[in-house]
Amino acid sequence: MDSEWVIDAQGLEKSYGSGTSRFDALKGVSVQIAPGETVAIVGKSGSGKSTLMHLLALLDEPDKGSLQVAGTDAKSLSKRAVNELRNKEFGFVFQQFFLTPNRSVLDNVILPLKIAGIGVKERRGRGMEVLEQLELADKAGNKATTLSGGQKQRVVIGRALVNAPRVIFADEPTGNLDTATGAVVEDILFELNRSQGITLVIVTHDEELAARCDRQIFIRDGLVVSHAGPTHTGAHALHTPEALTTAGGAA
């Protein structure tokens, strides 16, 4: 059953604006994400990484192309079903923290559970569990604004984790952090993948982080490129280009 829980995107296209200001951010991208794997979406700034991630996470709809989640066409899903899917199966780490400033750390972490309509007691219990796992239990009552950058990012991961999702989408999870703190956050994410089998989709331009993933999807100008890779990290971390992607629009 779990092995069928695949995100399968075929020929995704997305453009912004219209007329002369029209910009094609994605020009036909095909990607599959299998359960339990860790996938890096790599590319230069403006190449369309975040756009792709948003489409895969059902935050946005493609102009063309199809997206299947666990065998169901995303287009056939009702708004409600899409909301439910994002709430229950996905966890999000965005480019910025997006913590609610005047709320406690715990309140921030349990937001997805509150949206899901889970009772106060259960969400408290689950929230504390996650904070303990991230070694933030002692900060549960603190205002989110009082935390350091690394602590904030751990709270964000806690928020992504609290609903026990199948997939965590992380957009530049270490972008705001120094190298050491970034490494801690990376370790947490990969540990979650290892121990709980959570699929990771990580958008990054950090080649080292990309290399730690099972698979890399290289994006340039809205297309998946079958070649190219961080030369200095070496090919050892990379699969063959054929295994990397089905080069839908790359021809």
Partner: protein, 430 residues
């Protein structure tokens, strides 16, 4: 999100920007405060007028006089007829007019009119004083129509019209001067009423106090039952039977089962016979209309204040939506439906409305009750029984609900804006 979570989240969001919320709440406060007070004035005055109507008479009663247009200027002098031309200078007619008196034959005619159950003449008696035991004597008057009225009692019972003993309802201002410890103390006591007959001889009549009433604005004097009035009238006439008995006014009871239309028809019927019949409601209708008009204007001012406050709510919430763009985007990304986002912001508007109106109504009740108490001791002490500000729970609740409804409507635009937000755009927002 559960309904309870939506409400608690809305409440805590409301307090996030304390200064802004306070200012908005203050604007609503002013409107709600005013509306609560104006409603209370309306209710207080209405209740007082109702009590006065009760003091004037029962709803199934006509006050009947001869139509004063019987001697219209320009018709020339009317030939004297000893049978019908009894004229009394009645206090009942408008100033400057002379009301023709009603005679026994008039009463018979009125009594025979279909729909009239009974008709009784109002016999005006002018007692000189009232005295209890051997205490001081006080000037004293009797309300001629008191037999058919319902007094605004503070102690004791209403007059018993059918009783054969002389009964009196004493205005409460007489209680202490006459030497009674309290209103209850006065009930059951026997007092003497002094009266001078037409020949100048003095008489006293004994009466039992059955009740103590608040003095009425529209029907001054003590209440006396038929037996006491008859006794006083006999004493006053000095045993001389006048050739033609005449009365300024008669009181007629009509069939209580009559519809409003039938009552109007009955009035018309009496009018064709040259009698003017007025119910108590007719007499007070004009007063009530004026009061309702004034209260209506005051309410309109309060509603204008509330409309101004509604723009404050819209403004506050639009700012709030703007500030919380990312938070809204995040919640939507995490699967919160547009409907729930809409509900959340609408609820914030309702919470602001509730705060403003509940505080406004509360302060209005507190201040108003104090003010009312001070006024009834001072400025308005001449109108006993008048509670100038009467806070009815239903109308206070109505004000609060009305303000909450206005707040909800004001929240529509900002809430719609929040609900329409695209999560991606919101998260991109710098």
């Amino acid at each position: 999100m559960r309904a309870k979570d939506l409400v608690t989240t809305a409440i805590s969001n409301t307090f996030r920007s304390k200064l802004r919320t306070t200012l908005t709440v203050l604007a609503i406060f002013v409107g709600a405060f005013t509306l609560t007070l104006t409603n209370a004035v309306g209710a207080g005055v209405s209740q007082y007028v109702d009590a006065q109507v009760g003091a004037l008479g029962s709803p199934d009663v006509f006050i009947i006089t001869q139509a004063s247009d019987a001697t219209t200027a320009g018709d020339g002098p009317v030939t004297y007829d000893p049978k019908s031309s009894a004229s009394v200078s009645s206090q009942q007619g408008p100033p400057g007019t002379t009301t023709k008196a009603l005679t026994d034959s008039d009463l018979t005619k009125i009594g025979e009119t279909a729909g009239i159950v009974s008709v009784d003449p109002v016999r005006a008696v002018q007692p000189d004083y009232i005295e209890y035991g051997t205490g001081s004597q006080y000037e004293f008057s009797i309300n001629a129509t008191s037999a058919v009225t319902t007094a605004d009692l503070t102690a004791g019972a209403q007059l018993d019209g059918g009783a054969s003993d002389a009964q009196l309802v004493l205005p409460d201002t007489f209680v202490t001067p006459l030497g009674f410890a309290s209103a209850d103390d006065a009930v059951g006591a026997s007092v003497s009423i002094g009266i001078t007959d037409i020949l100048g001889a003095k008489h006293t009549v004994q009466a039992t106090i059955v009740g103590v009433s608040l003095e009425s604005l529209l029907a001054a004097g003590a209440g006396a039952n038929d037996a006491l009035i008859a006794e006083l009238a006999d004493a006053q006439s000095g045993g001389i039977a006048t050739a033609v008995t005449s009365y300024g006014v008669a009181v007629a009871h009509f069939d209580t089962t009559l519809s409003a239309d039938a009552v109007t028809a009955l009035k018309a019927d009496l009018a064709t016979q040259n009698y003017t019949a007025r119910t108590i409601a007719d007499q007070l209708g004009a007063v009530q209309t004026v009061i309702n008009g004034i209260v209506g204007v005051l309410n309109a001012f309060a509603v204008i204040a509330l409309i101004a406050a509604a723009f404050g709510i819209i403004n506050t919430l639009l700012m709030s939506v703007q500030e919380r763009t990312r938070e809204i985007g995040l919640m939507k990304a995490m699967g919160m439906s547009s409907g729930k986002v809409y509900t959340l912001f609408s609820l914030e508007a309702v919470v602001i409305g509730f705060l403003g109106s509940a505080i406004g109504a509360g302060v209005a009740i507190g201040l108003g009750s104090a003010l009312s108490a001070v006024l009834s001791q001072g400025l308005l002490s001449g109108l006993p029984g008048l509670n100038i500000l009467l806070f009815e729970p239903a109308s206070v609740a109505f004000v609060i609900l009305l303000v909450m409804a206005i707040a909800f409507l004001s929240g529509t635009l900002p809430a719609q804006r929040a609900a329409k937000q695209n999560p991606i755009e919101s998260l991109r927002y710098e």
